[in-house]
Amino acid sequence: MPVFKAFFKILKVKGAIVLIYVAAFIAFMFGITLQSESAGESMFQTKNLYVAVWDKSRSALSDRIIQMLQGENEVSVLTADDLQKLGTTEKEQLRELNDDVRYGVFDYVLIFPETFEDDDQYSYFSTSDSSAGYIISEQIDTFLKCLKINMAAGMDGDEALEKAAEVSDASQNAEIRMADFSDEGGSTHDSLYYLYRFMCYSVMMAIVIGICTVMTGMKNDDLVRRIHCSALSSQKISLARFSASLLFAVGVMGLFVLIASIYCLGSADMSKNSAYILNLVPVVIMSAAFAYLLSTLTADESIINMITNMVSLAMSFMCGVFIEQNMMQPGVLKAAQFMPFYWYVQGVDLADASVSVTSPAFLQCIGIQLLFAAAFAAAGIVISRSRAAGK
């Protein structure tokens, strides 16, 4: 009990630093999440593409095409003020727009030249994989083709434009069905999903750095000697330290979960919250065990920070925390299966798809994460004992 209490006494002294870390990683988590939120997916919705339009022609034809695009996409028609903000020369403006496309601010930039009404030729920038290029260009080309066919059939300009618009509107009623293979509900990928997906990185960083900050304080020579003078066995001392670390970790987890729940109240499916929390618990235990292991290896805060950053950032990139798992190479995903975050992200995806927490898949994810936690804790205990024996 004295060792257990000592942990929290030192935490009280170093509370400001620990709080700074926790606050910073909560901020990171929200910063990442806000970029990734999307609407529910129970019915088919075309992916809203962000289209910027620079209309130099200001013709009836370009207006009609813009109207058509606005039906399914987020269209921004660039005004003179917008262009002024991008740059002073046309070259600078085009470069900024090109950068906006390359970094995903826009999916497609459409430019109608002054001669558009005469020659029907437009230019565009799109993402490098050409998916947005196909989608938007195909919409525009289909419209223009219908227009040309109408004019070849003898219609005048206005009638041809009107009929082409009617055909375009009618084609929007294409029958597209959403198949549902999940047990119930289906994946939503709402804000709660993204918060929990990124939470593993923030939680691990906050817990490991917080615990290690306190543990380095407990490695004060005088304190260590006083503890070892006591009647407590080394096992009890280790158990007390680990218990205190775990309690701290649970407290940090509670804080993260509380903030996430308050943020998502009313805007996300909270029935999945318990599954998310259940999936997060092994990460918390694993982080506490990892912190315990690190603290037995070194007392240098800089090295602890370095190792923690290295491990958590590398795992986050390789296991699908920052980049979706379905976008990663199969070989990388195979290697990622040897890391706990991979199984955490799998668990988050299962929870989002409303898979039962007692299902084999979900239990497998939790079980493997707990195995990692056990491995770290065991390594920490072994190293701690061997060092104590050596002394």
Binding site: G31, Q35, F44, T46, L144, A153, D300, F317
Partner: protein, 436 residues
Amino acid sequence: MTFGHIFLYRIKELFRQKWCVGWNFLFPLVLATAFFVGFGSFIRNADILTTVDVAVVETQDDEMSSSFVDLVKKLDFMNVSVVDDEEAQELLKDGDVAGILYAPSFTANTRQLLNGNTLDNASSAADTLQISVENIGSSSMLTEDAKQASYWINDPTLTVAENGVNQTILSQFLKSYIANEKEMAMIITSADDPSAIPAAIQKTADMMAEDMTFGSSDVSLRYTDDGRGQLSPYMHYFFALIAMASLFASWISTSILDEAMANHSEIGKRNECAPVPRAVSLTANILSGLVIQVISVTCLILYIQYVLKLNFNAPLGYVILISAVCSATGIAFGVMFGALLGNHPATTTAVPLLFSMGCSFLSGLMVGNIQQIIQAAAPWINRINPAALLTDGLDSLGSYGIGPAYWQDVLILLALTAAAIAVSSLILRRKNYASL
């Protein structure tokens, strides 16, 4: 002599400190390798058109279905599997296809109008329609229903399991196909002379079969002056990593200041008592830290270019130059934090870590496009964030070559460095051993 002595011995000392070697040399290399493993293939395959896997189910055995299947197979961005419905559902459930396209077919009305006529001379769906219309006879048989495309053709449909880009591509293809059908129906029904309908159908079909594209991708700005290819947006993660590695120099300078001030450490007391002027001592220490940092960032840049074989699309000298300037900014900010925060325990660890991580986060280390979003919402943040300045400089260097944008970023970084040093000087110059 004193300056040189302090400079050299500080370099030796820094190289012997595990945290310095680990943070500044090892950590960036490990993270660069993790990035490469995670999404290096996206960078190498940046210009390859992604294909969409789709299952096609022929709903009936007629020319409409078969011509639709032929059309889909010809599209180079579709990877087509022609299967039955059950197999298609399995493929969709397993995620092997993005969607199932059910081919269109002729309605019973059309088949009735064909009256079992052979279709030897009907090589396409348009021919079939033409024959059907000819069999209608006079215009009085064109009822209101017959003026709708649905009278002749059962539209193709699409089934997907989730929302996404590939599903949107398939939906757009479907809508374009249906638009062509509706257009055909409109041409049929708008003809004044029924006897002219078959010719109108054929002409429309011919025009639809033409490869008409009206847009061109404007690539004139996408290449550097010597015509090298566009820089992949995923390289931005590596630029943000270089920025973070450069800003790790703040750790070095906070530890330098820790050992230079009497109220920070025992070594600080001894240094304060030494006859060396503080300006000389600090300058030598800071320059030694800068040398270490420049060496570590150069190693990282060379590792990315030659070991991971990811091209910066720019002369390496300019890449190293802006990284060195950013390292100087990191060193200067570290000195400033040390001067401002004094002996607070957060100075040596928490503040440099959060400074470098925070700036790197806002420049796109974790979310690749955050810098562009900040540029649209609050561009002044990008102008004062050293990491954002570095990534912007490298990006404009790789995309557009050496130009005003690159030099502007270098100059702002130098200005930030000068400002941080000026603030530190103001705080530190009046502090002597007696006043600490």
